[in-house]
């Protein structure tokens, strides 16, 4: 028999602390759909996705019923779409994206990731076509998400690609000006992109992955915050190592939930189970915030000295708890800091305690990067490129994933409010200090060599 105390603890996590499975993401390899006739490619891609993912949503809903835990999002991650664009043009890229969008809608998933180009060492014509098509692709599709990997620890940083990407982000924002540049929120620029990340907008199916696979993303910042709060209620003088221990145990429990759901979905769909990614991904709801965890730990004003250490403590404890819980931990697995999606972080940015520069420091010790950052609409491309390069440098040098999701909002200036609604939240336009001070450096282009510690063989 299971002990009553353990049952009640689990029920509390579900009913009061917003524990959920944030996403069950099915990876599908579509490389076998490539061909010279884009109509045929689109037909094959659509048919394959509809066949493979036909039962995904139904099975996820069965899990919600069986276990009483919400599977909030059901998503797809395909192998890089750029691999299907050899010999094709931007119109073909849009046709492919429309086919993907239609397939995603018909299998009733909310997002599809994998409109992806891996250009960390160099760029093929197909990848250039894909990147240049992004403004119309992200304007004309609803569910398609894009990602571009511009650097790895092994390859260094492709600055020529970054120059193209920076210009493209501005074009995407202007192409989607009627939605306040929302198209840019569907593009993530990575260094060391993970091949099994189930979270959007950066999910794609990597080259080493199975033909079809189920990856799961679990969240639960509310659960971690309440665990810290309960510890401090009992022991107001708890030390930081005691807090870390509490977070670690909580991360263990949350990760186990994700693995259970992921494995059972995979079993019912007769596809391999991939990874569980425990990433503390906030939503704009109060009680579902990363920033609130830091506040509970004692950082009254987010961005104050100590904030980066708090992020490091949290990120490390989450990883340790997850690693003990499951041998199938992957993806990003740590703490996200998407400013717009977290009301406490958004508040701190709005009130000036949390600056872009401090956020950048925090990304050196968390699992992702500058995520959902609203910039003035007239931000120069060189500024965006410089921000991408700085984040990539952190990731490449520290052998970790970093990413940026920057949204230059057309017509908006520093301090203006922007609201995307729903899970994407709202926030305030911020900007870097001295935006063009590094333009000459950035515009040199070329390649930043891989760091010395990449030479491990």
């Amino acid at each position: 028999m299971i002990r009553t105390k353990e049952i009640l603890s689990t029920v509390r996590m579900l009913q009061e602390e917003n524990l959920d499975v944030r996403t069950v993401t099915m990876g599908i390899n579509i490389i076998d759909c490539a061909g010279p006739d884009m109509d045929a490619v689109c037909e094959a891609v659509y048919a394959k996705i509809c066949r493979k993912a036909a039962n995904l949503v139904r099975v996820c809903d069965e899990m919600t019923t069986r276990y009483g835990i919400p599977v909030v999002n059901k998503r797809l991650a395909i192998s890089p779409a750029s691999q299907l664009l050899g010999g094709h043009d931007a119109n073909d890229a849009l046709a492919l994206a429309m086919a993907l969008d239609r397939a995603a809608a018909d299998v009733k998933v909310d997002l599809l990731g994998g409109f992806t180009a891996l250009v960390h060492k160099g760029m093929t014509p197909a990848e250039r076509t894909m990147i240049e098509a992004l403004p119309i692709v992200l304007r004309d599709t609803k569910r398609v998400c894009a990602s571009i990997n511009i650097g790895t620890t092994k390859a260094g940083m492709n600055v020529d690609a970054i120059l193209l990407v920076g210009k493209t982000i501005l074009q995407i924002a202007h192409a989607t000006a009627d939605t306040q540049g929302f198209g840019a929120a569907k593009l993530v620029v990575f260094a060391n992109i993970p091949e099994d990340n189930p979270f959007m907008a950066g999910a794609y199916l990597g080259a080493g992955e199975p033909e079809t696979v189920i990856n799961v993303g679990v969240s639960g910042p509310g659960v971690v915050k309440r665990a810290v709060d309960r510890l401090l209620e009992v022991n107001p003088g708890a030390t930081l190592d005691e807090i870390a221990e509490e977070v670690k145990h909580t991360a263990f429990r949350v990760t186990r939930t994700g693995e259970l759901i992921g494995r059972e979905v995979a079993e019912r769909l007769s596809v391999p189970f991939g990874v569980v990614d425990l990433s503390l991904a906030p939503t704009p709801r109060v009680g579902d915030s990363i920033g609130e965890i830091y506040q509970s730990m004692g950082i009254r004003n987010l961005g104050a000295p100590g904030t980066t250490a708090a992020v490091a403590l949290l990120n490390d404890a989450v990883k340790k708890g997850g690693a003990f819980a499951s041998s199938a931990v992957g993806g990003l697995s740590g703490a996200f800091i998407p400013v717009m999606e977290d009301h406490a972080l958004a508040y701190a940015v709005e009130h000036g305690t949390l600056t872009l520069e401090k956020l950048e420091a925090m990304t050196a010790v968390c699992s992702v990067g500058l995520d959902m950052i609203l910039l003035p609409g007239d931000t120069p491309a060189a500024t965006i490129c410089g921000m991408i390069m700085d984040e990539a440098a952190i990731g490449i040098t520290n052998r970790k994933t970093t990413a940026v999701r920057l949204i230059p909002v057309p017509g908006k200036k520093l301090g203006d409010r922007v609201d995307f609604g729903g899970l994407f939240g709202s926030g305030t336009i911020t900007q870097v200090t001295c935006p063009l001070g590094g333009a000459d450096f950035v515009n040199r282009g070329g390649h930043v060599p891989a760091p010395i510690h990449s030479l491990t063989n």
Partner: protein, 195 residues
């Protein structure tokens, strides 16, 4: 007439105090019996235990009762002893294990409608526990649900009943609790045998 079976099911009810289980197990083992199943709990200051014991020598149940009662003061303990019947004991329900939770303000007539609801659908209660926090009550039941029942429909009907009792209800498969509480691989829980 001596009992044919040498295995008995024994239950004891008594006001709680230290040493009760010692007294019972000493008496049983003193008769040369092996205790091969036991469950004990204390509810509101009353101790209860149910155990099965196999006796090396064929012993009549009345003799066992007399022997065991010597460990207690006069009329201190209520005791029931019945022969173990393997045919009856094997009539276990073919189903899946779920956990029921009910939380809200305590009031009369909670358990009767709930257990009636379950019994009418052939759902077996394996374990039931109640926890109080001030005026609030939480019921936790571990149940076996027949495989032919539609769990979604069951949940809808159960929540409807709980609403009428001003309680918040949940029915969740036990694997979610096992996954979170046990230090063991998840994979066996989701194989067909694990379900």
């Amino acid at each position: 007439m001596p009992d044919k079976s040498t295995r008995y099911v024994i239950s004891v009810l008594i006001a709680d105090r230290p040493g009760i289980l010692r007294d019972i197990t000493t008496a049983v083992s003193g008769m040369g019996a092996n205790i091969d199943g036991i469950r004990q709990s204390v509810v509101a200051g009353y101790f209860t235990v149910m155990l099965t014991a196999t006796f090396a020598n064929s012993s009549p149940s009345e003799a066992i009762r007399r022997n065991m009662l010597q460990a207690f003061n006069e009329e201190e303990a209520q005791m029931t002893i019945v022969p173990y019947d393997a045919r009856k004991a094997k009539e276990v329900l073919d189903g899946e294990q779920y956990v029921i939770t009910l939380t809200g303000e305590d009031h009369t007539r909670i358990l009767s409608p709930i257990t009636t609801f379950l019994a009418e659908r052939g759902i077996n209660i394996e374990d039931w526990d109640v926890d109080f926090e001030g005026s609030r009550v939480t019921h936790v039941g571990q149940i076996t649900v027949p495989r032919n029942l539609d769990i979604k429909q069951l949940q809808i009907e159960f929540r409807h009943l709980a609403d009428s009792l001003s309680l918040r209800a949940g029915i969740q498969h036990e694997n979610i609790f096992r996954a979170i509480s046990e230090i063991a691989p998840i994979k066996p829980l989701v194989t067909r045998q694990g379900r």
